[in-house]
Amino acid sequence: MIPMSWYLIAAAALFCIGLFGVLSRRNAVGILIGVELMLNAVNINLLTFWHYQIQVNAEPPFNALVFTAIVFIVAAAETAIGLALIINAYRQRSTIVANDLNLLKG
């Protein structure tokens, strides 16, 4: 009933919001929040196409499900590591403002 394009556009909007957050947030954790949003948007997309596939083909596409599961796993892993890094950086430099973590400045 709901056109697929709605889902896709919603996912796209979510993705872009997350992108905006990644690019603009000062706080490092805020950046990670943006990343999470992006990953969720990806998941929405994946599941939308999974549903579509079932609808169009008779054969259920298990690869979509597996892909989604993997995205989940990877998101979790990346969040864990990212936060560990942020905490470490915070310990070293007492700041997690992304702008201040600019040792790579050329």
Binding site: R25, I31, A98, N99, L101, L104, K105, G106
Partner: protein, 719 residues
């Protein structure tokens, strides 16, 4: 008996070897130096006597030559060689004697054996040493010359050059000897090179004779060009050649070639024998030691000039016979000779330095000889040359002895007087008898004292020649000069030897050592006796008693001297009058002279003129020296060299620098540096610009990546 040719070659060699040996080995050793020098001169003397004897006894005309090929000139060779004829034989005679005497004299003059003075420097005359005698008194005595060896080396070279000149058979080696003598006179006049006056005098002598030598060289070149050879036999003694040269006209003044070449060679003689206008160097040459003055001004150098003039007499007299009017060159010679004789004699009257009087006297006597050649009195000129050499050498050495005595007196008394000033002398007759008598002999010879002095005979012959040849003006001038000669000679003798000593130094003078007085005595023998070899046959009384050997011997050199001249009494009486009269006048005026010259008051301003030598030196300074100096200092050195050439050089340098700067600033810095720096700066600014991308902030990198991804995506979709 060795071949004469070989002996002649050896003559210049002995003193030359002595020169080399002294220079290289015995410079510092006094005894060895003078021994070698005297041996050289002695050997030369010995050989000269042998050769002279051979020449005299040689029958059929005295002529021996020996030549060898020297310079290859195209097809033929330029030959040089030696020659012995009557003229060179008699010249060798007096040259050998005078040189040997001077060498021996020099040993004593330079105080051989004396102590070296404590202040004596090489380059300055020695001024005495302090010795203690047995009572403990300190005496100032003359000290030995510090440059003893150098002196003997140089006079040996001088002697070698003179011998070379006399024995050569061609004008080229004569010129070589001539120039070497010029060099030696420079070195010897400037012997005491520490004295600025000596240095100046040496340069003056060299440059003045150089002026004459340039013209002489022109004459030699002309002769060589026209005749193809310079040998005497082929040119000067060749009547055909002489006639031809006399016939062709040269482009200069319309003279014949013979006359022109003769004139050019004569200018060389004017320089070397110190005739007017090139006489200025000779009085200044008194700066050298007295043996040098004797050698240069009596025995060798000035005699060389007259010798040359006598040699080229056939050239100037080509086409002339006795009784004819003189041709232009001969007129010039006679005029200059006679004029100089009178001119110098007048100056000598007002001179106070004993050597200067003799210097001007030499100039005057040389004028006599040249005048004699000019009027064609060949034998007379040669005769006077020979006798003059003897008595002038005697007089110079005698004056050296006087100066030595005076210096001893000066050292003894400590007076500060000039030992050469005649007005400080007086009464030396008693203190220095040997010197006095020999000087008197020489002085009388110079004055032409009748009969017993050689000078009388030679001078008389010149006057006779002048009168007999109809040259009455010349005769008159020469007679007047003879009067003045006698006058100033007696003046000199009176002031120096007669009367009372005028200063304490003169009182304390004493006679010189035998090594100095014996040469004086020997020379005085010649001064007295040499004249008797040439008594003309036509002389009243004595003529014919002693055969006129000289006239016959030397007269064979020219073709027209064989007839005996008639001897009028006028010249004889004139010469008696002038010589005796002059001597008497001189004695009368000066025998009671105190410290002031009576002539000074008598002549008034004329005396000042004479004393200042007619200001010839000053005139030359203004006319020639100052312009030459200006030319050198201002024109060439400053304007041309410093401003012009250096200006051009600096200009080139500046142009180069400007160009360099131009290239540098116009091209190098902006373009090359600019390119390089620009590249670097551009890269840096580019980098600085791009560095802003590297903010170190991750979010900026992400944004950038996103933007570029968008762009790429758009491109992909569009294309």
């Amino acid at each position: 008996m060795m071949m004469t040719g070989t002996l002649l070659w050896l003559l210049p060699l002995f003193p030359l070897i002595a020169f080399v040996l002294i220079l290289l080995f015995t410079y510092k050793k006094h005894a060895l130096s003078h021994t070698i020098a005297i041996i050289g001169a002695g050997l030369a003397w010995l050989v000269s006597m042998v050769v002279f004897y051979q020449a005299v006894t040689h029958s059929g005309g005295p002529l021996m030559t020996s030549a060898l090929n020297w310079l290859p000139t195209g097809e033929t060779f330029l030959r040089i060689g030696v020659q012995l004829d009557a003229l060179s034989a008699v010249t060798l005679f007096f040259v050998a004697w005078t040189i040997l005497m001077i060498f021996i004299y020099s040993v004593g003059y330079h105080n051989f054996g004396a102590k070296r003075g404590v202040d004596d420097q090489p380059g300055l005359p020695p001024h005495g040493a302090l010795i203690k005698d047995k009572n403990g008194h300190k005496h100032h005595v003359p000290s030995v010359e510090p440059m003893y060896g150098r002196f003997f080396a140089l006079i040996s070279l001088f002697a070698a050059a003179m011998y070379l000149l006399v024995v050569s058979n061609n004008l080229l080696t004569l010129y070589v000897g001539w120039e070497i003598m010029g060099l030696c006179s420079y070195l010897l006049i400037g012997f005491w090179y520490g004295k600025p006056s000596a240095r100046a005098a040496a340069v003056k002598a060299f440059l003045t004779t150089r002026v004459g030598d340039v013209f002489m060289l022109l004459g030699l070149a002309a002769l060589y060009t026209l005749s193809g050879t310079l040998e005497y036999q082929a040119t000067l003694a060749n009547p055909l050649m002489m006639a031809q040269l006399a016939a062709t006209t040269s482009p200069v003044f319309g003279l014949s070639w013979a006359g022109l070449i003769g004139l050019l060679l004569f200018i060389g003689v004017v320089g070397k024998s110190a005739q007017f206008p090139l006489h200025i160097w000779l009085p200044d040459a008194m700066e050298g030691p007295t043996p040098v003055s004797a050698m240069i001004h009596a025995a060798t150098m000035v005699s060389a000039g007259v010798y040359l003039a006598i040699r080229f007499f056939p050239l100037v007299s080509a086409g002339w016979e006795p009784g004819m009017a003189l041709n232009p060159t001969m007129t010039v010679m006679a005029a200059i000779g006679a004029g100089t004789a009178l001119f110098a004699a007048t100056i000598a009257v007002a001179q106070n330095d004993i050597k200067r009087v003799l210097a001007y006297s030499t100039i005057s006597q040389l004028g006599y000889m040249i005048a004699a050649i000019g009027i064609g009195a060949y034998t007379a000129a040669v005769f006077h040359l020979v006798t003059h050499a003897f008595f002038k050498a005697l007089l110079f050495l005698g004056s050296g002895s006087v100066i030595h005595g005076m210096e001893h007196g000066v050292l003894h008394t400590g007076e500060h007087i000039d030992p050469q000033d005649m007005w400080q002398m007086g009464g030396l007759r008693r203190k220095m008898p040997a010197t006095f008598w020999t000087f008197l002999a020489g002085g009388l010879a110079l004055s032409g004292f009748p009969l017993i002095t050689a000078g009388f005979w030679s001078k008389d012959e010149i006057l006779t020649g002048a009168f007999g040849g109809g040259q009455l003006v010349i005769f008159g001038v020469l007679a007047l000069a003879a009067l003045l000669t006698a006058f100033y000679t007696m003046r000199q003798i009176t002031l120096t030897f007669l009367g009372q000593p005028r200063t304490r130094a003169a009182e304390h003078a004493h006679e010189s050592k035998p090594v100095m007085t014996i040469p004086l005595i020997i020379l005085s023998i010649f001064a007295i006796g040499a004249g008797w070899a040439g008594i003309p046959e036509a002389f009243p009384g004595l003529g014919g008693l002693i055969p006129n050997w000289f006239g016959g011997f030397v007269g064979g050199m020219v073709h027209f001297e064989h007839h005996a001249e008639t001897h009028s009494l006028v010249p004889l009486l004139t010469s008696l009058a002038v010589s005796l009269g002059g001597l008497l006048l001189g004695w009368l005026v000066y025998r009671r002279a105190g410290t002031v010259d009576p002539l000074e008051r008598a002549l008034g301003p004329v005396h000042t003129l004479l004393k200042n030598k007619y200001w010839v030196d000053e005139i030359y300074a203004v006319l020639f020296i100052r312009p030459a100096r200006w030319l050198a200092d201002v024109l060439v050195s400053d304007w041309i060299d410093r401003r012009g050439l250096d200006g051009i050089l600096h200009g080139i340098a500046r142009a180069g620098l400007w160009l360099g700067r131009l290239v540098r600033q116009g091209f190098d810095v902006p373009v090359v540096n600019g390119a390089g720096d620009g590249l670097a700066n551009g890269t840096r600014s580019m980098g600085a610009l791009l560095r802003r991308i590297q903010t170190g902030r991750v979010q900026d990198y992400m944004l950038l990546a996103l933007l570029l991804a968008i762009v790429a995506g758009v491109l992909v979709i569009v294309l």
